[in-house]
């Protein structure tokens, strides 16, 4: 009888299945929010402050080079506040979220959409905060924080938010 070798049970590797979803949402934020006219020239910069793994990698891989209107999307990664200059969207990773106040001050009067992922951060300056509701990846919106940065959020996006702070 020919010997049959039993296969080792297939190995798996844990995949970060939340980051691609967040990256898709961030891209949609870019399409459903209006920036002031001075921000509609040049590249459309989406910055990630914090680790490159996860959301940054997904954005870079799937969205860099695509367009928002006539603007080409550029994905930037920052490891310190000092590095961050003009960005249309700034996603602050959870490990860097303690610096939200510094960033809020830094971008005062500028049209940068601050996106966080930490409970309660809408009250700390973020215009959009990622949350998990039940099993779903959701986001909540603070309209007045967006307004402070002269950003106009489309109703379509507001309708999909798990909660909206006026």
């Amino acid at each position: 009888m020919t010997g049959m070798s039993l296969m080792n049970p297939g190995a798996t590797q844990m995949k970060d299945t939340r980051s691609p979803v967040k990256a898709m949402y961030i891209y949609n934020f870019a399409t459903l929010i209006d920036w002031p006219s001075e921000y509609r020239k040049g590249d459309f910069v989406i910055g990630v402050y914090g680790t490159k793994e996860g959301v940054y990698d997904n954005l870079k891989m799937k969205f860099e080079g695509r367009a928002i209107g006539s603007q080409e999307i550029k994905i930037q990664n920052y490891s310190s506040v000092g590095e961050i200059s003009k960005a249309h969207i700034l996603y602050i990773t959870p490990t860097k979220s303690s610096q939200i106040s510094t960033l809020d001050s830094k971008f005062k009067g500028k049209s940068t959409l601050l996106v966080t992922e930490k409970e309660g951060y809408l009250s700390k300056g973020a215009a959009i905060n990622f949350v998990v509701k039940g099993t779903s990846q959701k986001f909540e919106i603070n309209k007045s924080n967006a307004k402070k940065h002269k950003l106009v959020i489309a109703d379509r996006l507001l309708d999909l938010a798990s909660s909206v702070v006026e």
């Binding site: 009888m1 020919t2 010997g3 049959m4 070798s5 039993l6 296969m7 080792n8 049970p9 297939g10 190995a11 798996t12 590797q13 844990m14 995949k15 970060d16 299945t17 939340r18 691609p20 979803v21 990256a23 898709m24 949402y25 891209y27 949609n28 459903l32 680790t51 793994e53 799937k62 969205f63 695509r66 490891s79 310190s80 590095e83 490990t95 998990v132 099993t135 779903s136 990846q137 379509r156 996006l157 999909l160």
Partner: protein, 336 residues
């Protein structure tokens, strides 16, 4: 002298004719010389002659057809061999050749099993399954009607399911879904026999987990925002299906880190990083990985991935502000 020799030859031939075995004798001689095609002609002639009542003729015919199958790979020859051995057994009323004939039948029927293994190794998975089914049917019919195949089924279907698991890892879309279902089905065959089999539990869990994860990882980046929750929900259906199998595998072997890794992935995909169950499994992984990461960092202090993991562990699983700040600073310095 020449005359005497001719007379002896005639007596020999007449003797054979008298015993009615001339085709069989000729076939046997040719078989021994390795001339199987010629031997086949004489054996086939013998079975339509008076020699057909001799069990040994049918045994010989079976052996000749088996050799022919070895030469040309024609499966019809194997069937004729089996039929011949069965006829040999029927004619062996006193059971004089029973052991021998049983051996011939076993060694011929087992060829279907060997086919199944070879086809599996050649990734002809459907053909392999078909050969294995034929093997079992023929074994019951010709070798042992009481044979219990449970142990064989466990071994075979676990191996076949594992091949499907390997196959789907290279596929996508409908093909992946279809073959995942097949693989799961084979593992479930095993679990029907013995629900405590570790491999099938783990592999079903992994197949479902990977299917769910791939739905998200390979989703169209330009998916309209309204459709994102649908993709997520579809993926989570797979994670939910995976959970009971992975939990069972974890119960059967709590030391297996690949099970814990898959459970961590499912819980993360279902509930996010703030979830207790996710944190429980992540803690087990981090406990095991922390000393390895620290050693790696010693060996290569510039490995960013290692430092990122240390930052994560000290800021989440094992909260330690001093260690967190230390590694966060190293990371910042490296990134600047």
């Amino acid at each position: 002298m020449k005359l005497i020799r001719n007379i002896s030859l005639i007596i020999f031939l007449l003797g054979n004719v008298a015993f009615g075995q001339q085709y069989t004798t000729k076939a046997y001689g040719l078989f021994q010389e390795g001339k199987y095609a010629d031997a086949q002609k004489y054996a086939d002639s013998a079975i339509v002659s008076n020699e057909r009542f001799n069990s040994q003729l049918w045994q010989l015919r079976g052996l000749i057809y088996r050799k022919l199958e070895d030469q040309d790979g024609n499966a019809d020859n194997r069937n004729i061999a089996i039929e011949s051995f069965v006829q040999a057994r029927n004619l062996d009323e006193e059971g004089k050749y029973k052991e021998k004939i049983d051996g011939y039948l076993y060694n011929t029927v087992i060829r279907y099993y060997n086919d199944a293994v070879t086809q599996m190794n050649d990734k002809k998975l459907e053909a392999s399954e078909s050969s294995y089914t034929t093997y079992k049917a023929k074994y019951i019919k010709y070798v042992d009607a009481e044979m219990d195949f449970k142990a064989n089924d466990i071994e075979y279907y676990t191996a076949l399911g594992s091949e499907y698991l390997k196959l789907v890892s290279t596929q996508s879309g409908d093909e992946k879904t279809r073959n995942t279902a097949k693989g799961v089905n084979y593992f479930q065959e095993v679990l029907k026999i013995d629900g405590n089999q570790f491999g099938p539990n783990l592999n079903i869990g992994i197949m479902y987990y990977n299917n769910g994860a791939d739905l998200i990882m390979n989703s169209d980046p330009l998916t309209p925002i309204e459709e994102i929750p649908m993709i997520e929900a579809k993926a989570q259906e797979y994670f939910k299906k995976a959970m009971p199998y992975l939990e069972k595998a974890h119960q059967l072997d709590p030391s297996r880190m690949d099970v814990i890794e898959a459970l961590t992935g499912c819980c993360y995909g279902l509930y996010g990083s703030e979830n207790e169950q996710y944190q429980k499994y992540q803690k087990i992984l981090d406990e095991k990985n922390l000393p390895i990461l620290l050693d790696k960092h010693k060996a290569n202090p510039k490995d960013k991935h290692v430092i990122q993991e240390l930052v994560r562990i000290y800021s989440t699983t094992f909260k330690d502000d001093t260690e967190y700040k230390k590694y966060a600073e190293i990371l910042n310095n490296l990134e600047e």
